[in-house]
């Protein structure tokens, strides 16, 4: 929908501006003694108002050729051509109108005015069209600014949501209870391990609290958190949980939204490896390929697993976070095979 037509107040303002232009043109067309204000207005206002509507068409080329992404030559060529075409149309309508007025009133001066000033009116018409183009670019600019603001708001809301989820996740009671149960058990059999586990748990909680509230963190920081988490789970699952990690030095400083990987790794443990009697390996890789950073989390899984809606929602969340943080250049690929589940983040 055309932005000027969508809003009645905006349309009224636009037409008022044209009305004033029409009056101005009429005053310029006045000839003392020969042509007064009234006939000049009668001659000029209707074609000018017609032209006002015709110039609304400028919205389409303006939308098709955004200022920031179009070369100046294409911009000038397109709009000059459109200006000439529209101005010609205007002149034809003008000419027809003047002919009609003369035929109706038995006069000749209307046609004379138009014919004698064809060149002037043509130039004025073209300039008015260009003015309309500028007006539409302004409208588009306002619209874009509003969109950007809305998007920024959305990003903030999503970030807040993620933060809340993370707070909930790090307080995932089952993870905590199970870890505490391991500690309780180790206190009897292996006190020094119990102490290690206590420290690991404290470290995990501290790290997630600290990075959870940041706008963005380095991949290194995120991986440290994931490592603490996996170290705790390894005490629970023992040799059933194996970890293979390969991270390029060059991507360690890459920025990611906090707790981007943590929920994915948690899924890999709880829905993947923990559901296998013999356990399995979680592979975590981060490399730079061409212009993008590829982060892969892969785990073995039970081919007989029931389809889980839970992970689907989790992945949808990851997708949205990636989209809002990185924009259109990012992608989340999922490979869901009977014995293998893999999530790859392709980030710009």
């Amino acid at each position: 929908m055309h932005p000027a037509l969508a809003d009645r107040r905006r349309l009224a303002l636009y037409l008022l501006a044209w009305l004033l232009l029409g009056v101005l043109l009429a005053i310029l067309a006045m000839e003392p003694g020969r042509i007064g204000l009234r006939p000049a207005l009668v001659l000029l206002l209707p074609p000018t108002l017609f032209y006002a509507f015709a110039c609304l068409a400028a919205w389409y080329p303006a939308r098709a050729l955004p200022l920031d992404r179009t070369g100046s030559s294409a911009l000038i060529a397109t709009h000059s051509l459109a200006a000439m075409v529209l101005s010609s149309v205007w002149l034809i309508v003008f000419r027809l109108w003047s002919g009609a007025l003369d035929a109706y009133g038995g006069t000749t001066f209307n046609t004379q005015i138009v014919v004698s000033r064809t060149a002037v009116f043509f130039v004025v018409g073209a300039l008015l069209y260009l003015l309309a183009v500028a007006f539409h670019y302004l409208l588009i600019g306002i619209e874009n600014a509003r969109l950007v603001e809305q998007q920024a708001m959305e990003v903030r809301v999503l970030a807040r949501e993620a933060e809340l989820k993370v707070l909930k996740a790090q307080l995932d009671p089952h993870f905590l209870f199970n870890a505490l149960n391991s500690i309780s058990s180790l206190c009897g059999s292996n006190p020094s391990s119990a102490r290690t586990l206590t420290t690991l748990l404290a470290e995990y909680l501290r790290k997630s609290l600290r990075i959870g509230s940041a706008e963005s963190i380095t991949l290194s920081e995120e991986l440290e958190l994931v490592s603490s988490y996996l170290a705790i789970e390894r005490i629970r699952f023992g040799p059933r949980l194996e970890l293979e990690q390969s991270v390029d030095e060059s991507v360690r400083a890459y920025r990611v939204p906090p707790l981007l990987l943590q929920p994915l790794v948690e899924n890999a443990v709880t829905h993947g490896v923990a559901q296998l009697i013999e356990g399995g390996t979680i592979r975590l890789a981060a490399v730079r390929e061409a212009a993008r950073v590829h982060i892969t989390i892969e785990n073995r899984c039970d081919p007989d697993r029931p389809s889980r809606a839970g992970t689907g929602i989790g992945l949808e969340n990851t997708r949205r976070r990636v989209a809002t943080f990185y924009g259109e250049g990012a992608r989340v690929d999922v490979v869901d095979e009977p014995e293998r589940f893999q999530v790859t983040l392709l980030l710009p």
């Binding site: 209870f177 500690i183 009697i277 007989d304």
Partner: protein, 240 residues
């Protein structure tokens, strides 16, 4: 002397139960199991009086293990999920331990268990009431072997007297259960009772053909033909 068995897939969780039980000489731990399969096997071998049973385990969860056991042992569920508490009692568990638990709480549970075992050595557990709904998988016993079939693999189920025959990818498994019992546990949007003696998985259904006057037959993807009663056809029509 009371014999006990510990079933948990996490080594530290088994260790603490073992350690705590060490303080009660009237209990002997006859087996420690790291998964449901081991548990079913060890139970058949040792016939313990008491089971400490974790719920969240791979492939066979605690409730499924109970269902597969020959006898009806006394059970204490051990879990980090308190949302299972109600189901644990539905399963007539003596008690349940929430991880992590204190030595005092453990003493209570053990005392409770001892008292129950001494007063009523045999106890009935209605197996089908334990299983979560809708059923995700069905466990079968074939002599010593255990077969776990995810419900999405089932093509159809046929009633034969007081047991059912479950056909999944060309293999038939039998189980001591009635068709009506099983029907109640299955997801009603996926499994349809098309006949007094048949339940069909909609995902395996290829088409329904007229058979004789007033009767129809369901043709499955693998070509199997299954009779469809008039009311079964009504149910099918509602879902499709």
């Amino acid at each position: 002397m009371i014999t006990a068995m510990i079933v948990d897939d996490e080594a530290p969780a088994r260790a603490i139960l073992l350690e705590y039980l060490g303080d009660y000489p009237q209990f002997t731990v006859v087996a420690e199991c790291a998964n449901g399969y081991e548990a079913v096997k060890a139970y058949a071998e040792h016939r313990p009086d008491l089971l400490f049973l974790d719920i969240q385990m791979p492939k066979l969860d605690g409730f499924e293990v109970l269902e597969l056991l020959d006898g009806k042992p006394k059970v204490v569920f051990v879990t980090a999920y308190d949302e299972y508490a109600i189901r644990a009692f539905e399963a007539h568990a003596i008690d349940y331990l929430l991880k992590p638990f204190s030595a005092e709480r453990f003493r209570e549970v053990v005392a409770h268990a001892e008292e129950t075992i001494r007063s009523q050595p045999a106890m009935t557990v209605s197996a089908s009431s334990l299983v979560r709904k809708p059923l995700q998988r069905i466990a079968f016993r074939d002599g010593g072997a255990i077969e776990v079939v995810p419900v999405q693999r089932i093509d159809y189920i046929e009633a034969c007297d007081d047991y059912v025959q479950v056909a999944a990818r060309g293999v038939k498994h039998t189980k001591q259960q009635t068709l009506a019992e099983l029907e109640k546990l299955l997801d009603p949007t996926r499994f349809v009772r098309v006949h007094r003696s048949f339940i069909v998985n909609l995902e395996s259904l290829a088409r329904v053909e007229p058979y004789a006057r007033d009767s129809r037959v369901a043709v499955l993807r693998d070509g199997t033909k299954i009779p469809v009663s008039r009311s079964g056809y009504e149910r099918l029509r509602e879902l499709l």
